[in-house]
């Protein structure tokens, strides 16, 4: 088990959990989102490779209504 911070909230994830796995867990794998991992933007191609570690900070953003 690892504890990470996702969009400001602490969550627990299974060991060997990738960003790709996380997106599936939250039903976001087919959505237009962008991801920042410990302050760095992760490109789509690296979602599978990036395994989440304890204390990682993740931001998942999308488009919302705005002026």
């Amino acid at each position: 088990m690892a504890k990470i911070q996702l969009n400001g909230k602490k969550i627990s994830i299974k060991p060997n959990f990738s960003i790709s796995d996380l997106l599936k867990k939250y039903n976001l794998h087919n959505k237009k989102v962008a991801i920042e991992h410990n302050g760095k933007i992760i490109t789509n191609n690296d979602y599978r490779k990036k395994i989440l570690k304890n204390k990682d900070k993740l931001e998942i953003v999308h488009f919302i209504g705005g002026g």
């Binding site: 969550i11 939250y26 962008a34 933007i41 953003v61 999308h62 488009f63």
Partner: protein, 257 residues
């Protein structure tokens, strides 16, 4: 008649009305208003996904980014770093290079911080972004933005969401006259006639959000703005008559009985 396009960076738009997608009661109302406005480009904000509610509808379910141009903005950013972070994420989401930069300077007026805005424009331009820039109505600063690579200049008419209309037509006119890139009047427009006046001044387009979303009937107001922008543009192209201090009869005076 030659087709009248609004060309921003590489995009050619038929409609000179750009609409914001904030403040609506529902996504369905947003989509209906956008449709009624005839806009081909909408502004959108970048925010955290709500991870607690997986089934909550999202904007892209209602406005297809393949059919309408999404213009990601940096609303809520108060310095260059925040704005750059937001737009780099927006680009990652699907190759959005055409973006709207706004770096705010004050929570009460939401006036732009022009020093941070110019700094950000410079960096974004170097990174290959096409930047449309929300700015104050100071012609010197507007010129600075253009010199630093802005793809469009977006001076405010009055504070964001205020509905106070065009408060400084002279400055807007000066910016319009000097700019070689499109000038889009952004922020403060309150009602359809304000948009017509802005277009008659010769600006290339207007960006409207609150005036439509906060109207009693937003969808009808969206249609009103569509017509107002077309009217104002045609009026500008037609060239208004010269003002006279005295009357000039509209009917012939010859043959009066």
């Amino acid at each position: 008649m030659k087709k009248d396009f609004l060309k921003i960076a590489h995009k050619k738009l038929n409609s000179r009305l750009i609409v914001g997608t904030g403040k609506y009661k529902s996504f369905s109302e947003t989509a209906k208003a956008v449709k009624a406005s005839g806009a081909e480009m909408v502004t959108v904000a970048v925010r955290r996904v709500n991870i607690l509610d997986k089934k909550k509808p999202i904007l892209t379910d209602y406005l297809n980014p393949k059919k309408i141009i999404y213009l990601p903005n940096t609303a809520g950013c108060f310095n260059s770093d925040e704005a750059l972070r937001t737009l780099r994420l927006a680009r990652e989401m699907g190759g959005w290079k055409l973006v709207k930069l706004e770096v705010l300077g004050d929570k009460k007026t939401l006036f732009p911080n022009m020093i941070e805005t110019i700094k950000s424009t410079k960096i974004l331009f170097k990174e290959g972004f096409k930047v449309m820039v929300y700015c104050s109505d100071d012609p010197i600063l507007a010129k600075k933005l253009e010199d630093n690579g802005a793809s469009a200049i977006m001076p405010l008419a009055s504070p964001i969401g205020s509905g106070l209309g065009l408060q400084n037509k002279i400055n807007l006119s000066l910016i319009i006259k000097q700019s070689k890139v499109p000038v889009i009047v952004d922020a403060g427009i309150g009602t359809a006639s304000d948009a017509s006046i802005a277009m008659e001044l010769g600006c290339d387009g207007v960006l409207i959000n609150s005036a439509i979303a906060n109207a009693q009937k937003p969808i009808l107001m969206a249609r009103a703005f569509k017509d107002a922008v077309i009217s104002g543009r045609n009026s500008f192209l037609a060239g208004r008559m010269i003002k006279n201090y005295f009357a000039s009869p509209s009917s012939p005076t010859k043959g009066i009985i």
